[in-house]
Amino acid sequence: MSVGAGAFVYFGADPAGAAGLVEAAVEVLESGLGLTKLSQMSLYRMPFHQGKWRGYARKAVDEALANADVAVINLRVGSPDSPDMVAKLQVRSDPDPHRAPTGPRSIGFVCETRAWTPDVVVAVGRQLLEAAARLGSPISGGVFRAPTFHQGHCEIGDTIDYDPEAPAFRDRMSFDRKDYLRWEKARRLYPVTLLGPKLASQVTADQATAAGAIAVQEINGSLLIDAYPTIVETWDPEFLRATLELRRWLWPNTIQNPADNVGLGFKTRR
């Protein structure tokens, strides 16, 4: 069955401004997922130029990163119609106030788990989160699983074509997209969740452990929380049951998507 899995991180400042961050993220993807020249990349140059898909080359990525006009680096493995992996690295914001992004810059990827086992995806996702914490200024992030590649694609925000999905998923994603919420809060508890320094300063690792976290790692002021031993969908009944206290603990620091309120009983807004 086609299943998606991946990871994303939101950043409080342009990733290109953090020395070594984007390079580390690309290195994680290249070494972890085995990007080759058969993989593809395309660049989005500010203000409006969408580059063509072409063969992936690390040198081209490095050049793009050094180019102040490049806002987005897109990576892809597999065919255009049915990719095995897509990654979006939003490295810079448009400085024009009319075009300045309304949401935070992010780096994320989603994989087709027929191409890479979930263990590999989790390992790569964890390395991405660790690199973000070590080198960047993350707001939040997570390693996730989705029942389809397309839903995973939506999860990292590389597409908002929600039309093919069921209403429950569309509602969940539409709420997630509220830009002003994403600047401040974590989206939700994921099997592996990253809280950036600002959110991490609101809580403690001991609290996370007391609420049932399997492991909590402090990295450069961020907290990397292992919430569940395997990656499952965040609406998986067993995940919701096992992480009840952890979700309750984290809730004030999330965007409080009503879809994640299962079993918690908090008052929510739509």
Binding site: G20, Y44, N74, H98
Partner: protein, 725 residues
């Protein structure tokens, strides 16, 4: 009177003859006396040398040397009275050299004699130490105290080290003794009394060296066990016995842990070290761990922990080596790029000063000299940057090798982590330097395409060259006409559409299929007349002007560039005319076709999605860019669509439009104003505010709008391109 004079002369003659006779008699006597003295002295010298090996000092040898020096003095006296005496002449001619040779040879004999007993005490010293060590070892053995293993090992290492030092000195002395003996034995003269001297000197040399050698052999035997340090037979036996005790095993485990920690510390510190020496020490310490693991193996018995170590650790030790060597190699390159960015900065400054000087002086030679310098530096840095970029794969490979070190034992986890940490730190530093190097060197690497150089050429060209500017304009017009060859009419479009859509293409790639090529060739054929004129008289005139300008130093480079471009365009046109090949990039008729056909597709998509605003420019921040479609489909369904051929990525562009469009209508809403008439006016602003607000009950002067954006794909060949009537 005559008589007196004759008598006087006879008297003088008698006196002279007498005097001569007496002189001959004295030389002969002196000569014989001196020869006797010399022979006697040489006999005495030989006698002094006799039995030197038994003497307590070198004084007899020195005495012999003194006598031979006196011989030298006597030979000098002999020279004055030697006359025709053959023996005396032989002494005078040969003995000074014999004396000198003896002096040198006997000096070596003195050295031999002085050091004859230099290792005589060594056997006893080693025996004493050995006795103490054995007594101590056996005392520990009797006590069966496994905690003393390290103490005994250290003791054995200490005393063994001392014995080794002594023996190293003895070996050095051995070399010296053999060298001195060789030098002394070279003295060999069989002439008269010298044969005795030679014989005695040689026998002394042999006997003294033999005596020293006997002491050395005894010392070798006496020190042999000690020099094996903790492999001393008795120590080795006792260490094994002690190791077999539980305490003994614990002591070995503690030692293993201590050494692992030491390696961890070295690996961690290598990042901040100035050279990779710490990794050499880490490898050396790991070999000590290997020895300890061998020891554990020999005493493991049925002990589970010992068995586990004996079975698993050899693999960890083995796999450490490639990881450590890779980290060492990473360290070697750690700071390799440090000077690179400064070098580029300095060259950029130098180039900048060169350009500044040329501009200030309005020096037309700058038009050639600066690009030449820029090209020379560009070539240098292109090569260097390429090498640097290629080296990245080596660095990542080394880092991967370090990361492949993955022992399963918990006690090795820290080492694994610090190895990875150090490799990552070194690589990241290198990588950062590589980025920095790129940022400082990339423009230089562009050679005369360096933006600063291009600006300079433009600036300098403007001030120096009207003639050139005119020529450049004419050439530009020619080039525009040449490019115009590729602009298509509607019939071309339709034919290309049919060709293009008859084959499969990868999205957004250049159409290169042979069917399209063939159709392209046909289109080009129709342009043959235009091409003939362009590459005929027009080109000839322009080329002649260019070549004339090229002869002027100040226009040479710029005119050369224009000629190069003209030549390039001419070659392209010739290729079109002759072979219909190499029809690429922006010159490709198929690309022009795609643009025109895309417009038709967009119009069709507009109809399909009922866009409220289609292809409208004027949104602040978007300049002349136009979102393909802005549409409100109902509550919360406010969209910006970007129409693209299927498979072409347009989401990032759509997102840029979304931000600008959303911001525009939001600002209008908050200002309680209508949208501009070309962007929907009052009617569309009202529609947006009714459907796109986040907080529908909130004060609209503070509320936010939420638009969404996506790419809407179309199939390239769903409809045939139609010519407009």
């Amino acid at each position: 009177m005559e008589m007196k004079r004759a008598l006087f002369a006879a008297l003088v003659a008698v006196v002279v003859l007498f005097a001569i006779k007496v002189g001959y008699a004295d030389d002969e006597s002196d000569r014989q006396s001196l020869i006797r003295d010399i022979d006697g002295m040489l006999r005495d010298a030989a006698s002094s040398l006799d039995g030197a090996v038994s003497d307590s000092s070198a004084s007899d040898i020195e005495s012999a040397r003194s006598k031979v020096r006196d011989v030298r003095s006597k030979v000098s006296s002999l020279e004055r009275v030697k006359g025709d005496d053959s023996l005396a002449n032989k002494y005078v001619s040969s003995y000074p050299r014999y004396c000198d040779d003896f002096d040198r040879a006997s000096q070596n004999l003195v050295q031999l004699k002085n050091d004859q007993r230099s290792v005589a005490e060594l056997p006893r010293r080693c025996q004493d130490l050995d006795k103490q060590l054995v007594e101590q070892a056996e005392q520990f053995e009797r006590a069966k105290d496994g905690t003393r293993i390290e103490e005994l090992r250290r003791l054995a290492l200490d005393v063994g080290g001392k014995a080794e030092d002594w023996f190293r000195d003895a070996d050095r002395k051995k070399d010296e003794m053999q060298r001195w003996a060789g030098e002394a034995a070279r003295f060999s003269i069989s002439d008269e009394q010298w044969s005795y001297v030679s014989s005695k000197l040689q026998s002394d040399t042999r006997e003294i060296l033999d005596a020293w050698q006997r002491d050395y052999t005894q010392a070798d035997a006496a020190c042999k066990d000690l020099r094996q340090r903790d492999r001393h037979p008795v120590v080795d036996r006792v260490l094994r016995n002690l190791a077999n005790t539980a305490q003994g095993k614990d002591a070995i485990y503690a030692k293993l842990d201590e050494k692992l920690k030491r390696i961890e510390s070295l690996v961690k510190d290598v990042v901040g070290a100035s050279d990779p020496g710490k990794m050499d020490e880490a490898l050396s310490t790991m070999s000590e761990i290997a020895s300890l693991v061998t020891e554990v193996d020999s005493i493991k018995g049925t002990d589970r922990k010992a068995t586990a170590i004996a079975e698993q650790w050899p693999e960890y030790v083995r796999s450490f080596e490639p990881a450590a060597r890779s980290l060492r190699a990473l360290k070697v390159s750690h700071h390799g790029l440090d000077p690179a960015d400064d070098a580029c900065k300095a060259d950029a400054v130098a180039l900048g000063e060169m350009m500044k000087a040329a501009l200030e002086a309005h020096d037309p030679d700058g038009l050639t000299e600066v690009p030449a310098k820029a090209r020379e530096r560009g070539e240098h840095y292109r090569t260097a940057l390429t090498a640097m970029d290629q080296f990245r794969s080596t660095m990542t490979g080394l880092k991967s090798t370090v990361e492949a070190f993955d022992p399963r034992d918990e006690r090795w986890r820290n080492l694994k982590d610090v190895l990875r940490g150090s490799a990552a730190a070194i690589y990241e530093y290198w990588d950062k330097q590589a980025q920095l190097t790129h940022s400082e060197c990339d423009d230089l690497a562009k050679g005369d395409r360096n933006p600063a150089v291009e600006r300079f050429l433009n600036d300098l060209g403007n001030t120096t060259s009207n003639e050139l500017a005119t020529y450049q304009k004419e050439a530009g017009d020619w080039e525009a006409k040449a490019r115009g060859v590729y602009i298509l009419d509607c019939k071309d479009m339709q034919e290309l559409w049919d060709a293009w859509c008859s084959v499969e293409f990868e999205p957004n790639e250049e159409p290169e299929d042979s069917v399209v090529e063939q159709k392209t060739a046909e289109v080009i054929e129709r342009e043959r007349a235009t091409i003939a004129d362009l590459i005929g008289d027009s080109y000839t005139t322009l080329a002649a002007t260019g070549k004339r300008l090229q002869t002027k130093a100040k226009y040479a480079a710029a005119a050369g560039e224009v000629l190069k471009e003209l030549e390039k365009q001419k070659r392209r046109l010739e290729k079109l005319q002759d072979k219909n090949k190499e029809w690429k990039g922006t010159n490709n008729p198929a690309v022009a076709f795609v643009t025109a056909f895309g417009k038709q597709q967009h119009d069709r998509m507009n109809g399909e999605f009922s866009c409220n605003l289609y292809d409208k420019s004027g949104f602040p921040g978007l300049s002349r860019q136009r979102p393909d479609c802005v549409v409100v489909n109902g509550k919360g369904e406010c969209w910006i669509y970007e129409f693209k051929p299927r498979g072409v990525n347009g989401d990032d562009q759509a997102e840029t439009y979304r931000v600008a469009v959303q911001r525009y209508y939001q600002e209008k809403m908050r200002a309680e104003a209508d949208a501009d008439s070309n962007l929907g006016g009052h009617e569309f602003q009202t529609l947006v505010e009714a459907n796109c607000r986040e907080g529908r009950d909130a004060d609209k002067t503070k509320d936010t709008l939420l638009f969404k954006a996506t790419t809407k794909p179309y199939d390239r060949c769903a409809r045939r391109y139609e010519c407009e009537q």
